[in-house]
């Protein structure tokens, strides 16, 4: 049976095409043909409910979310749903990108509709068999029930259901008041057992048997290129089978790959290489970069005047004629993604096909991109996304995949490229540095009348669209308060690779804005929560979350911040001891519309809070003499368990549609924590209290 894709993919997709009767890796498997109303869900001949998860799981929990939604609509339990991971295929699945916190917003309705369609067809089949109206039947526990009849199991109905014309069967979604699971389930993560037994398969574990292993000698300073290679000693290492020159950008970031029969041999081979490098910027220095950004700020003028140029500031006279305003400059560092599983990818290039297994954030987009760059039809390219040991924006990029393809082509075998932690830390696409100058005109009571936020930063080198200041501004500026003003963005050329990092530019903009607001409130002697309440527009979703967080955190909190983005709202309150630099407690209240998998919602907020603790206390990337200084978690000072505050996450219910979440908590958590740590001192950058850059 085929149905229009538009029916199931909703507004996310503009083209309507028929869906293959069975899509996904297990197509055609299984005993009986089974019921497959669309690309997302099928009920097989044994009555098993199988959901195809279109986007990869990077730890954000999309697989569990899919299981909850499908279980709800097919009236089974979360653990009854078998999950299959979709291969890269945008024609079938639409966008498969784990990006911009879109997965729950874009997938919930299609997944629910898919499962509800299957349920309605099964009910229709049972009703027909019994000769009763479908409305008198219900689905529950993998069976269809009718008062006075013996329940029929799904497995006994799939053949009849598959023969029905879905156009004749009305599909109804389970209404929220009847939800058993959505927003309520206590189920944990779908892959939990595989994770705790070590069976979970990430990139390295997904490489086909017999794959060779490659490690890459990478530029010792930024932009360096290979001038010459002496690989005699490397080739002599036992187990080394090939040495491959990788030319950027076609084969990733460039370098020399050593392909071997084992990781240890590949590492020994890399050690034995002699590479001569040329070009690049061997004198680059991140402190100097930040100074250059600051020097590029426009000349500091007066703050924006409430009534336009030439008008007076209210309160100015009372203040002896001086313009009452506050001004502060914030300096933001480079940050690395540092996913726990370092970058890696496996490729097998044969005469007529390219196959890839890798932890990637956008398998469909990658396949399309590879088709273009390799000049192959998409049908000849297979991208299998694996579980990813974290991503945080890093795995949008194809660099490791391109390296694996180049190595496999040269070696004629499947090759798995493994980045060491050192490679991963030193050759990331970093969150850009930025300098923010904020100016606020204040009234006599210390409330801001206007605000000016001037930003100088770099574009994201991984996506050309971000070379546009308007795009950067749109990413960064989500100021939710009713203070009129100006935001200006100037972009300088990026001296290092830059990319998406959790919350993208909102991480820098939101941090500066909320730290500044905290200082204004303190300056005017206002309570941080009451002050924000006054500035929020009536009816803002932030009122409810701010109230909920404040009620839990107690009176007169030092660190407070809000954020409104991705269709969700959050308030974060932090308590810290400035003397010991210890973050004691963080309270977050979040409104995501529908918290599909509550434990997963809380986990995403906890994770973003730990990112905030890490980056405010001291994690940053610095560049000296052309090279990134840090090389592992030893010096990229990510939070340890002892740095972890007590965390309370409150889910605040609302009538809003499903909102995004993965990135939401980072900007306000960082600002609240920094403000709490600063106490009466101003925050001047990130990390707080250590030199930036």
């Amino acid at each position: 049976m085929t149905v229009s894709r538009r029916t199931f993919l909703g507004a996310a997709l503009v083209v309507a095409v028929p869906v293959p009767a069975l899509a996904g890796p297990a197509a055609g498997a299984g005993p009986a043909a089974g019921l497959t109303p669309n690309v997302f869900v099928r009920v097989d001949g044994r009555g098993r409910v199988v959901a195809t998860v279109p986007r990869p799981d990077t730890g954000q929990g999309v697989r569990t979310m899919a299981a909850v939604l499908v279980a709800e609509e097919l009236a089974v339990e979360v653990e009854d749903v078998t999950l299959e991971q979709a291969p890269g295929d945008t024609a079938t699945y639409g966008s498969q990108a784990v990006a911009n916190s879109t997965s729950s917003r874009q997938l919930a309705t299609p997944l629910r509709t898919a499962a509800a369609t299957a349920r309605c067809l099964l009910i229709a089949a049972a009703a027909a068999r019994w000769g009763v109206p479908a409305a008198a039947c219900t689905a529950r526990g993998g069976r269809v029930h009718h008062p006075g009849r013996r329940p029929l199991a799904y497995r006994d109905l799939v053949a009849d259901a598959a023969a029905l014309d879905p156009a004749t069967v009305p599909v109804t979604l389970t209404p929220p008041e009847r939800w058993r699971l959505i927003g309520r389930t206590r189920a944990g993560r779908s892959d939990a057992r595989d994770i705790v037994t070590g069976r979970a398969r990430y990139g390295a574990e997904s490489a086909p048997r017999g794959s060779l292993i490659a490690v890459v000698a990478r530029p010792p300073w930024i932009g360096a290129q290979v001038a010459a290679v002496d690989d005699g000693a490397a080739r002599a290492v036992d187990g080394v089978v090939a040495v491959v020159r990788l030319a950027a950008p076609a084969a990733g970031q460039g370098g020399v790959a050593v392909v071997a029969s084992s990781t240890a041999a590949a590492l020994r081979g890399r050690e034995a290489l002699t590479v001569t490098w040329t070009g690049g910027t061997p004198a680059a220095d991140s402190r100097a970069w930040l100074d250059e950004l600051e020097a590029a700020l426009p000349p500091a003028g007066s703050p924006v005047r409430p009534g336009g140029p030439g008008t007076a500031f209210p309160g100015a006279a009372a203040d002896g004629g001086a313009d009452p305003y506050l001004r502060r400059v914030y300096r933001m560092p480079l940050l690395a993604h540092a996913p726990m599983e370092p970058m890696n990818a496996t490729a097998h290039v044969t005469a007529d096909a390219v196959r890839v297994w890798a932890p990637v954030q956008d398998p469909g987009g990658l396949r399309t991109q590879l088709a273009r760059s390799l000049a192959l039809p998409e049908a000849r390219i297979a991208v299998t996304p694996t579980l990813a040991g974290g991503a945080f924006g890093r795995r949008i990029e194809p660099d490791a995949v391109l390296e694996a393809i180049a190595c496999s082509r040269a070696a004629g075998k499947p090759v798995s490229v493994r980045w060491t932690r050192d490679d991963d830390t030193r050759h990331d696409s970093y969150r850009p540095m930025s300098v923010h100058r904020l100016t606020a005109a204040l009234d006599a009571s210390g409330l801001p009348l206007t605000r000016t936020h001037e930003v100088v930063t770099w574009p994201l080198t991984v996506l050309p669209a971000f070379a546009n200041p308007a795009v950067v501004r749109a990413s960064g500026d989500h100021f939710p308060y009713t203070v009129p003003g100006d935001v200006s963005v100037a972009l300088r050329p990026a001296p290092i690779r830059t990319g998406f990092w959790r919350a993208v530019y909102a991480g820098q903009f939101g941090y500066a804005e909320e730290c500044f607001l905290s200082e204004i409130a303190r300056h005017g002697g206002h309570d941080q929560v009451a002050f924000r309440r006054r500035l929020l527009p009536a009816g803002s979703r932030l009122h409810a979350v701010l109230d909920a967080a404040a009620a839990k955190a107690g009176p007169a909190p030092a660190g407070v911040a809000c954020h409104l983005e991705y269709g969700s709202a959050i308030a974060v309150i932090a308590d810290a001891d400035p003397a010991t630099r210890r973050v004691r407690r963080v309270t977050a209240a979040v409104d995501v519309g529908v918290p599909i998998h509550p434990s997963g919602v809380i986990a995403q907020v906890e994770g973003a809070i730990l990112d905030a603790v890490s980056t405010v206390l001291g994690a940053q990337i610095t560049v000296r003499d052309g090279a990134v200084v840090q090389s592992s978690f030893r010096d990229y000072a990510w939070a340890r368990i002892g740095d972890c505050p007590d965390i309370d996450v409150i889910i605040v219910g609302s009538q809003a549609p499903i909102g995004g979440l993965g990135e939401l908590a980072y900007p306000p958590a960082a600002a609240a924590i920094a403000s709490a740590l600063a106490g009466p001192e101003p925050v001047t950058g990130m990390p707080y209290g250590v030199p930036v850059g």
Binding site: I195, M340, F633
Partner: protein
């Protein structure tokens, strides 16, 4: 090349590899035990932690030569059905996000509870100090260690 003897998850193994090969690659690539994860290779993250002669060790920084004759337990050898109390606590409290660090966290906690059946918060933080979780599951790890400790006490 050398021949090295190990007892891994209760089975005797003999491997023929250069003596300076890190034990982690022997476990993962010679013996097919991929539960110990590679996170840094320099002993700085804890993703590879396994029991070496009963204590939490980091096979990424132990050469096979140095480990010759050792008894090694990887996460695969912790329990037959994934129901060791620490594993159960981890599942019950839905600790994992990406899960990549968790075998190392779990094995570190197994070693901790063997020494200290009822650890204080400070002892938990100390034992797990060099186990990074990039996803930030620390609050749940803390709770799960307490849960695991009470499960172990209940069982004994």
């Amino acid at each position: 090349m050398g021949r090295f003897r190990l007892q891994v998850n209760g089975r005797r193994q003999v491997v023929d590899v250069p003596g300076d090969t890190p034990l982690l690659w022997v476990l993962r690539e010679e013996l097919g035990l991929t539960g110990p994860r590679y996170g840094c290779g320099v002993g700085a993250c804890g993703a590879c932690v396994s029991l070496i002669d009963g204590a939490a060790g980091r096979p990424c920084v132990r050469t096979v030569e140095d480990a010759d004759g050792a008894r090694v337990t990887t996460i695969e050898g912790l329990s037959e059905h994934g129901d060791h109390p620490v594993q159960r606590a981890w599942v019950d409290l839905d600790v994992a996000q990406c899960g990549y660090c968790q075998p190392g966290q779990i094995m570190t906690v197994v070693a901790l509870l063997a020494r200290v059946p009822d650890p204080s918060d400070a002892q938990i933080d100390e034992a797990l100090r060099d186990n990074v979780c990039r996803c930030g599951t620390y609050p749940r790890i803390r709770s799960a260690v307490r849960r695991a400790a009470s499960l172990v006490r209940g069982a004994s």
